[in-house]
């Protein structure tokens, strides 16, 4: 029998403002997204897309901190919004976030390791002070920090990368099954980026933790992830193995994204070429493909109806009419 998925979104839509039937001033931040983190083996999944495409909203839905407007978030076979008591407590411990700017989560008046102590107390992970300190030391060492240098320092006395790794250490203490990392390295330099991502990958490889890596850096996504979800204006436009999607993007938006990555090479030309003149146009609502107004391959029918997902390979789907001769992807979630 197939294991249930660890965490999944079933046709989830999240609308902010206005209410679902008040069309004025609403943002559909996440639009009918279905995706699952499998329980078979620990994976790393990237969620990529431009700013405002709904990545953070998707992460917050997965964390259960906001409720979907439509659809369900299922953890270990159970609907997250219906959870209470022990189940909810387990869920809160087993699915841990790591945010973009860790400075925001630190209270400047407490020492930086305060957060680690709080986490241990909240979930009753240690029975004595010594045990608590021991756990913290181990966690810091796992993420490559020297405990003696870190303990007792205030947040502003740590570098951005150190603060970020403290957050990874905090997540680690709780022995989660899933880590949701929302742009965990967007503020750090190349060297630290490599170090932090490698420590996240170690958690996946050695401790069997599944990771959702929210980012707009496709290069690192390609390096550490198994699968990727490309979002555009709240919809998933392409989804599948990172190897397929990034090496051979099919959706015109994914292609644009991949082409836009500046590569560390001595050839030039990246900053030349067709440079569009922008003006303000309130294109607003569309019933068709959301990418139609920017798509170089747009066709008449693209304006009529939102394209459904087509199965392009066994391990990749794309929502675009260019592939309508392919079978429609069967992404319907297991009936609940």
């Amino acid at each position: 029998m197939k294991l249930p998925n660890l965490l999944e979104l079933q046709n989830v839509t999240k609308v902010f403002g206005g209410g679902l039937f008040n069309r004025s001033n609403v943002t559909v931040a996440v639009d009918d997204v279905t995706f699952a983190i499998s329980a078979d083996r620990p994976t790393i999944t990237a969620v990529a897309g431009e700013s405002g495409s709904g990545k953070t909203t998707l992460a917050r839905l997965l964390l259960g901190v906001i409720k979907p407007t439509l659809g369900n978030v299922i953890y270990d076979g159970q609907d997250v919004s219906g959870m209470s008591g022990n189940d909810r407590r387990n869920f809160r411990r087993e699915v841990q976030p790591i945010f973009q700017d860790p400075f925001e989560v630190y209270n400047p008046f407490y020492k930086a390791d305060h957060l680690l102590h709080v986490a241990i107390e909240k979930f009753g992970l240690a029975s004595s002070r010594d045990e608590r300190v021991q756990l913290i030391r181990e966690a810091l060492e796992t993420v490559g920090l020297r405990p003696d240098e870190m303990l007792g320092r205030y947040p502003h006395q740590l570098s951005g990368g150190q603060r970020q790794r403290m957050m990874v250490a905090r997540a680690l203490l709780l022995k989660p099954r899933i880590i949701l990392a929302d742009e965990p390295v967007s503020m750090v330099d190349a060297s630290l980026r490599a170090t932090i991502l490698e420590s996240i990958r170690t958690l996946n490889r050695d401790l069997g933790i599944s990771v959702v890596y929210v980012t707009h850096d496709l290069t690192t996504a390609y390096q550490i992830c198994d699968d990727i979800l490309v979002m555009y204006k709240g919809s998933v436009v392409e989804q599948g193995s990172v190897e397929r999607v990034i090496r051979d993007p099919k959706h015109p938006y994914t292609r644009l994204l991949v082409e836009s990555i500046p590569q560390m090479r001595a050839d030039s030309g990246w900053e030349e070429g067709g440079d569009e003149v922008l003006s303000i146009d309130e294109s607003g609502e569309t019933t068709g493909c959301k990418f139609a107004d920017r798509c170089p391959q747009v066709m008449d029918r693209c304006h009529d109806e939102h394209p459904t997902a087509f199965q392009i390979n066994d391990d990749r789907v794309a929502s675009c009419y260019l592939y309508d001769e392919m079978p429609i992807a069967n992404r319907a979630p297991v009936a609940s």
């Binding site: 330099d189 190349a190 490599a194």
Partner: protein, 366 residues
């Protein structure tokens, strides 16, 4: 007519101090480059320090480089190595507890370091301009875009008819790829990329000789980043300005710049063309830095950052600042401070391995 009065007052006040400054839109349109035999900017032994409780933080410690007109230099290096401090100092925008401790910033032969606040205010925009990551947040939220650019011109002593000024504002917007109607918008109505283009338009409105761009796109996603960098490229080509791009995205830097300067702990330890730095990194730090950048060509088993952390910039130990993390460290490294060595092809490296006067077992001196 309030505008007219301000214009006159400002112009009168400035007449005596700076006669060579552009004062009309026509001057601006004509304002070409200065003496082309001189570098656009020539920085000599610049030192920028901060006073702190722990001691003096030597954030920029004896940096020298020169840039020709139209040349693009990128400054890279780990967070905290002094890039922004250097960029701000070039603009003379260093704030207390920071100060310029010594050195020269020669713009077209004129040293900016001794200039007073008023002289420097005029030199900014007209000679050297800054575009930062947060430039887009610095826009006045209750003022239309075109009025902000307009006021900036007047502030810098441009005295002309309203019509001429307006048309110049629209030219500037078009130069950064924004149509007239964007000028009538307020900042909150623009996307991040559009705001950053406005910041470029404002920063370059007086055709500066040097543009300092400090992580101008790090808050933007790749697609918009590329558009903004294209815009900066075009403006740079149009005006012939030299550009100093600060950032730590090695891909971006490689694609945009002509040369790369690598900073470590307040020092410029390696400088060469993009090709030299990427394909034949010399300084041990540069090698590790280049190696920490993954690409789309091959999937790596491991991502390797540079082990260790940069030293605190107070009380630096004697010898080479990179010694505690350097895989090639040898005896002399802990005692003797490496000096800037010209290894040919206008390539400079600050490491004993390349200095013919220092005996190192691993010496790379031919």
């Amino acid at each position: 007519m309030a505008v007219e009065t301000t214009t006159n007052a400002v112009a009168d006040r400035e007449q005596s101090t700076r006669s060579e400054m552009p004062t009309t839109v026509d001057d601006l349109r004509r304002s070409g480059m200065g003496d082309s035999s001189l570098p656009a900017i020539d920085v000599k032994d610049l030192k920028v320090y901060y006073d702190s409780e722990a001691g003096v933080v030597k954030a920029v410690d004896g940096v020298s480089f020169a840039l020709q007109q139209g040349e693009r230099l990128a400054l890279v290096g780990e967070s905290g190595c002094g890039k922004t401090t250097l960029g701000m100092a070039l603009m003379k925008l260093t704030k207390a507890p920071g100060y310029i401790d010594g050195g020269q910033i020669l713009l077209d032969g004129r040293d900016l370091v001794p200039l007073d606040d008023e002289e420097m205010r005029l030199a900014r925009l007209a000679e050297i301009a800054l575009v930062t990551q947060s430039a887009m947040n610095a826009l006045n939220p209750v003022m239309r875009i075109e009025d902000q650019i307009f006021d900036g011109l007047i502030d810098h002593g441009i005295k002309d008819t309203k019509e001429n000024l307006r048309s110049h504002v629209y030219d500037l917007l078009l130069r950064v790829g924004l149509r007239e109607n964007v000028g009538r918008m307020f900042p909150h109505e623009l996307s991040g990329g559009m705001k950053q283009r406005v910041a470029i338009a404002t920063g370059t409105s007086m055709n500066p000789k040097v543009i300092v761009a400090d992580e101008p796109t790090s808050a933007l996603d790749v697609v918009v980043q590329r558009q903004v960098m294209m815009t900066l490229s075009r403006v740079q080509r149009d005006t012939g300005a030299a550009v100093i791009l600060i950032g730590h995205d090695m891909g971006l830097v490689a694609q945009f710049a002509d040369r790369i300067g690598v900073m470590y702990a307040g020092k410029l330890v390696d400088i060469g063309t993009v090709q030299q730095i990427i394909e034949e990194p010399k300084h041990p730090y540069t090698k590790l830095l280049i190696n920490s950048v993954p690409d789309l060509e091959e999937k790596r088993e491991r991502l390797t950052g540079i082990p260790g952390i940069p030293p605190p910039l107070v009380d630096l130990p004697p010898g080479c600042v990179f010694a505690p993390r350097c895989p090639s460290v040898e005896g002399p490294c802990n005692e003797l401070e490496p000096k800037d060595t010209d290894i040919g092809d206008n390539r400079h490296v600050m490491c004993h391995l390349f200095d013919p006067d220092v005996a190192m077992a691993g010496s790379e001196v031919a």
